[in-house]
């Protein structure tokens, strides 16, 4: 999450209370990532093994293949490890 999107102390709920449900969706954890999975769609066979293995549900189905939701992907690399055709490369974040 960019610094601009993050709230300051004046705006956050008092005492670290989370006053409403389903806020995990708003908490974008993608910036924890050091290595970023990049999918080569030419190699991808759409087997969905990465979609099954992703512990954070950050692989999404897209036109018979897959794409990564970088808002939540923490860059664990399980998708790249499991891909049977080595279509996913882990690239260091800029």
């Amino acid at each position: 999450m960019s610094q601009e999107e993050m709230l300051g102390w004046r705006s956050i709920p008092i005492g670290s209370v989370i006053p409403e449900p389903a806020t995990a969706k708003k908490y974008k954890t993608g910036d924890w990532r050091v290595f970023k999975p990049v999918i080569d769609l030419d190699k991808c066979i759409g087997c969905l093994l990465c979609w099954i293995y992703c512990p954070d549900a950050s692989i999404q189905q897209s036109n018979g293949k897959v794409k990564v939701n970088y808002d939540y992907c923490k860059g664990c690399g399980i998708c790249a490890e499991e891909c049977p055709v080595k279509a996913i490369a882990m690239m260091e974040e800029a």
Binding site: M1, S16, V17
Partner: protein
């Protein structure tokens, strides 16, 4: 406002703490007995047993659990009171930070007692000073009357929506806790008027769920801590409003800091708790002999009343700060450290400051020793130098 003649009752400092909590219509008390605090919860459990109060008294197996239960209760919107001393406060230590971090306006009497080892049951301030940075507002009372008045004011301050911080009302073990005094008490309905029902921003309520106590990582933790610090700053302002309103009901004047003879002095002793009363008596005697000496007694230790302090010492040339605790390996004791930092920040580095560590493990500071300290301060002013930065008063070599 016309203040009616007040009822006077004879109670010890501990008893009056319980009496004040009763008048504050506390919803929950959870506590564990420890000398010299025990009488407070003993007295309060009597009120519960006799049906004099509508309070849930939660018996627990330790102070850690006592504070945990207080936090849980406070989060539901209840008004919560507890009390402890020494090892009990030390055992609560980690929960103290949770109470302040979750912004629970709990009021706790800390009956100051030395920490082990060697084991000792008598007064010094090492218990509270050990938890100095726990995010609680900290008040030190001089006598049982002040304990009564501060417990009632503490709830008002703690529960203020702009503050929402727990408050520790400190009273010296035995010297205040077990000494019987004539206390002027307010009528129950007057306390009720001064301290209405607690209001909340958030509370645990099954019909309107919230999440309390989430994991907060480097991206937000710091912001929550600054939020607490801002609440502390607010408390420093609000305590004046609270004291002003309380004066209207009680005719007794409180505030962040108390003083004696500052307008007619060039040297002062600074001390907290019961010691201040004796210092004032000695200062009065010295004043009659023509000495220009003052006593400054912070009621409020956290937040430290910086601005008020600087105003009070504007004419001072020397100060001796009395710390009833020893911060091992530190340049000076904690109160003296705050005083020096405050003076430095306000550009008053010209004032000569020395530190007296006294009264550890309940050793009395005698009037003769106090007089010697005043005369040392006078000499420091005359000679424009600090004489022995840190002195251990009355210790045998």
């Amino acid at each position: 406002m016309e203040v009616k003649p007040m009822k006077v009752i004879g109670l010890s400092g501990d008893q009056v703490a319980a009496y004040a909590a009763k008048q504050c219509r506390v919803d929950v008390v959870s506590a564990y007995p420890i000398t010299p605090q025990t009488i407070i919860v003993e007295e309060y459990s009597n009120y519960v047993a006799n049906g004099e109060v509508d309070t849930e008294f939660i018996c627990v197996e330790s102070e850690h659990s006592a504070m945990s239960a207080c936090i849980g209760a406070s989060l539901t919107g209840a008004r919560v009171f507890t009390a402890t001393s020494s090892q009990g406060l030390a055992l609560m230590h980690e929960m103290l930070y949770i109470a302040s971090g979750l912004r629970c306006p709990i009021v706790m009497c800390v009956v100051n007692r030395a920490l082990s080892a060697p084991i000792n049951i008598h007064c010094d301030h090492s218990d509270m000073m050990g938890s100095r940075d726990c995010g609680w507002i900290q008040i030190f009372a001089e006598n049982a009357q002040e304990v009564y008045d501060w417990v009632i004011q503490a709830f008002k301050l703690a529960e203020d929506i702009d503050v929402l911080l727990p408050v520790a009302v400190n009273l010296d073990g035995f010297t205040i806790s077990h000494a019987l005094e004539d206390i002027r008490v307010l009528e129950d309905d007057v306390v009720g008027k001064f301290l209405p029902e607690r209001r909340t921003v958030y509370k645990l309520d099954p019909d309107d769920p919230i999440l309390v106590g989430p994991l907060v990582l480097p991206d937000y933790y710091f912001e929550f801590k600054v939020q607490q610090e801002e609440a502390m700053k607010k408390a420093a302002e609000k305590i004046r409003e609270v004291a002003r309103e309380y004066y209207g009901y009680s005719n007794r004047e409180y505030g962040p800091i108390d003083s004696f003879n500052v307008d007619d002095a060039n040297t002062a002793l600074v001390g907290m708790g019961s010691t201040a009363g004796m210092l004032r008596a000695v200062a009065r005697k010295l004043k009659e002999r023509g000495r220009r000496v003052a006593v400054i007694k912070p009621w409020l230790y956290r937040p430290f009343p910086k601005e008020d302090f600087v105003k009070l010492v504007k004419d001072m040339e020397s100060i001796i700060v009395l710390d009833r605790t020893l911060s091992f390996g530190a340049p000076v004791g904690p109160l003296c450290s705050d005083v020096i930092a405050t003076l430095y920040e306000s550009g008053r580095c010209d004032i000569k400051v020395a530190n007296a560590i006294y009264g550890l493990g309940g050793r009395d500071l005698t009037p003769v020793e106090a007089e010697n300290l005043f005369m040392k301060a006078v000499k420091m002013a005359e000679e424009k130098r600090v004489i022995r930065r840190v002195e251990f008063v009355g210790v045998r070599e």
